[in-house]
């Protein structure tokens, strides 16, 4: 029997759930290490369908983590994404949060 936390109980460790989702984490991490990338590139990196990608990108754009620019390349529309300063700070904080969370865990303690 596990004790359920009450709704008012604050979590001990804060994790940015917007970045914590695996697909969005790959998107944000990829945009962190490159200057900019388009929709097709990010979709290939994450392996997501266009519909799923659109949904994740919309959430990141709404949170102001990612900015976008619509351009044309070879007469075809292209949406280019960049990580904003807020997004950059968010992933640095996320790294810190995960690092703090995992720091007490010794590697191979159950080996």
């Amino acid at each position: 029997m596990t004790e359920q936390p009450s709704p008012t109980q604050q979590p001990q460790v804060e994790i940015d759930r917007l970045i914590h989702e695996p697909a969005r984490l790959i998107i944000v991490a990829t945009l962190y290490v490159v200057d900019e990338a388009d929709f097709v590139y990010l979709a290939q990196q994450t392996g997501l369908t266009a519909g799923n990608m659109n949904s994740h990108m919309a959430r990141l754009v709404n949170a102001d983590y990612v900015s976008f620019e619509k351009t044309f390349a070879a007469n075809r529309p292209r949406t280019i994404y960049r990580l904003t300063e807020k997004g950059r700070t968010a992933i640095q904080q996320y790294r810190q949060q995960v690092g703090n969370l995992l720091a007490p865990i010794e590697p191979n303690t159950h080996a």
Partner: protein, 194 residues
């Protein structure tokens, strides 16, 4: 994603992934075949062939960029990475081009003098192998180690046989172009036009 080395690894991995298409391999391989063949058959036009290959580098890179973007999408790496890439390619081109166009004709020795310690012709093989080795270490693209090894092995043969040093370039070029063609074929089948 717990530390900066993992982000660096991700950047390396992302960068490496943009070099799995084989276009540069095919270009380098064909260029080496042409230069090697000119060296063996028409040594008088060697500088011209080398200069011709050098002229084709920029259009090839522009074509490759369009080719990749049509299949894997567009990505622009950080300025530090682009600066590093420009520096590496410029250094390699200047070393190789400078040697082929200037140093080699000026320092050409009599045919038959094949001792690698005194024959400047032999330097080109070690030069290209060294460039490939340095590129392999910096980019962690493992097939470049193989290319350097093929070049060194092929480059040792003329030292023994007294043949032209165009042969190592020609043979290695065939190997590199063949590997590049296989990579290109796999890349095109895995990444159809979007």
């Amino acid at each position: 994603m717990a530390n900066s080395s993992e982000l660096k690894d991700l950047e390396q991995k992302t960068y490496r992934a943009t070099h799995s298409d084989g276009v540069i391999d095919v270009f380098v391989g064909v260029s080496m075949v042409l230069i090697g063949a000119a060296w063996i058959v028409f040594p008088n036009v060697l500088s011209g062939v080398t200069a011709g290959v050098a002229v084709c580098i920029s259009p090839m890179l522009a074509w490759r960029r369009r080719f990749l973007e049509a299949r894997t999408g567009y990505v622009k790496f950080a300025e530090s990475r682009r600066r590093w890439e420009r520096r590496i390619y410029t250094t390699a081109a200047v070393l190789f081009g400078g040697f082929m166009v200037l140093a080699r004709p000026l320092g050409a020795l009599q045919p038959g003098e094949v001792d690698w310690r005194v024959n400047p012709d032999s330097l080109v093989v070690w030069l290209v192998a060294t460039v490939l080795l340095v590129l392999a270490m910096l980019t962690k693209v493992s097939r470049l180690y193989g290319y350097a090894l093929v070049l060194v092995v092929a480059g040792a043969a003329p030292v023994v046989t007294g043949d032209s040093f165009g042969w190592p370039l020609f043979i290695s070029g065939v190997v590199i172009a063949a590997v590049g063609s296989m990579l290109l074929r796999r890349f095109v089948s895995q990444h159809p036009l979007v």
